[in-house]
Symmetry: C2
Subunit: 327 residues, 2 copies
Amino acid sequence: MEGRRKELLILGLLKEARGGYVSGESISQTLGISRTAVWKHIQTLRAEGYPIESSSRRGYRLSSTIQPFNAHEIKGLLATECVGRVIHFQRCVDSTNTMAVVLARDGAEEGTVVVADSQSGGRGRLGRRWYSPEGVNIYTSIIFRPPLPPQDAHKFTFLAGISVAETVERYIPERPALKWPNDILAGGRKLGGILTELSSEADRINFIVVGIGLNVNMDIKGLPEEIRDVATSLKEIAGRDIPRAEVTAGLYYSLEKWYKRFLKDGFQVVLERWKDYFGFEGRRIVVKGREVVEGVCMGVDREGALVVTLPSGLSTRVVAGDLEVAD
Amino acid sequence: MEGRRKELLILGLLKEARGGYVSGESISQTLGISRTAVWKHIQTLRAEGYPIESSSRRGYRLSSTIQPFNAHEIKGLLATECVGRVIHFQRCVDSTNTMAVVLARDGAEEGTVVVADSQSGGRGRLGRRWYSPEGVNIYTSIIFRPPLPPQDAHKFTFLAGISVAETVERYIPERPALKWPNDILAGGRKLGGILTELSSEADRINFIVVGIGLNVNMDIKGLPEEIRDVATSLKEIAGRDIPRAEVTAGLYYSLEKWYKRFLKDGFQVVLERWKDYFGFEGRRIVVKGREVVEGVCMGVDREGALVVTLPSGLSTRVVAGDLEVAD
């Protein structure tokens, strides 16, 4: 822990210098440690993604303003009371949701998050794969412990949807769209997805894990063919690198805000905001779930179920399925 | 596995003799194994609870007709296609539900059960303790993988309730009562309880674990004071020892039957049967959940929520809480 504190002090000195050199000697004196110890701490910071150049004559400098993606950078930007206060940052993890479920089972407190730079077994809805390359995107899972029955669990997918939408629209000129039930689109392509999982008794949730995968700086041209045509990223749209730690901290802020509002004022305020981003009303759609339903999308009802008017003129509710535009 | 087969053959020979002696020599010849091997298999059977007497002159005999409680005895009585086909029998386990959740996460198939002779950390609803002494009761958890959303999970508590009630009423003169949401009573005292837990995505259950604790041969007089006045057991009511393996196999049969009917015909058939056992309609009750509700119990609605008429004359629905009789 003491070593960690020293590393952050060194990082602070380098940041203050704004790209200028700081001599090893002055760091050594300021912190009261040996030149060798300084060098070791620099090595640790480099391993965390900080691009630190060294020159035997002039010392050390942060050679780029690109923000590394790690727990320290996220924490430095965090404006929450609960979400993200405990961060488990992983360079690579099987699946952030799986790790968060294990942590939650072992008693991790509400607001604990897992963030990863890559996933070896990233998951989407219904066990589908979530493409999770390293170094470019955000994969994070948040633990909630709401005093609610399992019937309310799907509402967290809506809550997370508006949190992601609000966060990303600061970085791109166009408005993102939420596709029922769990995707975030931009220009009709997938920008992110949400995977809500829960552990529950029959009438009381033990914990909910909300997993969010968000394509931030992923280069679309280099993608596998089956993904290239359906995916996009913030960088692809904005034409510049987007700081992931900042996006993550912003996302946690939105999640906490909407979670509090949901508990205090109920689901309808969440749903009203969600409808602002829902781009499928009035369109001909096909929903493939336990049955295949085709008709005109009338929006969602008070519980978040999709309402579809069939060719017969009758309406039907769909609680689970994959929505596709048919026209 | 080969040793296991031999043990079961020996057990078969002893059972056929109906309490009479079978000589070690004849067992040795019938199975084509040494006398020492016979003796080793007898030791294993004794460890599983079979009371086998030995006499150097006459051989071995099953000295009691009391049915031991183990996987083999349960399987011998099983009339199901799915529930109980895979049995994890434990002399002692932390909690059968916890073990079943771990097995289910690791991919255990539907119908897999955990049965224990005692629990060191038996759990009831809301993390309460379930008193789980050894050698007398049934503690079992069943894994289901229904193609349903988490909104339907609480229905398994109802399904399990009628399965337990149907099974136990064969052994006692009085009709058991189901207390909303998860207790089985006889003469106003607790005979058993159900703990339903689930793992789910937002719109699809991964698995449900239904845990059942049933007081079978527990001697009430020897109980801790705080339990003595509120608990009962089948033996206490029937005045005789009840064969646990038989009760367990019967319970699995009922569970499978009602699970199939639920999936095929829906929840209302389950609920109608449940109402036959619900003994609180028309009584003054207090329900302590997120709020405290006091009034006259009007039964349950189509979703299994408790309906209470308040002193004002208005009715209210309660989806979770502890029911107590107030008059």
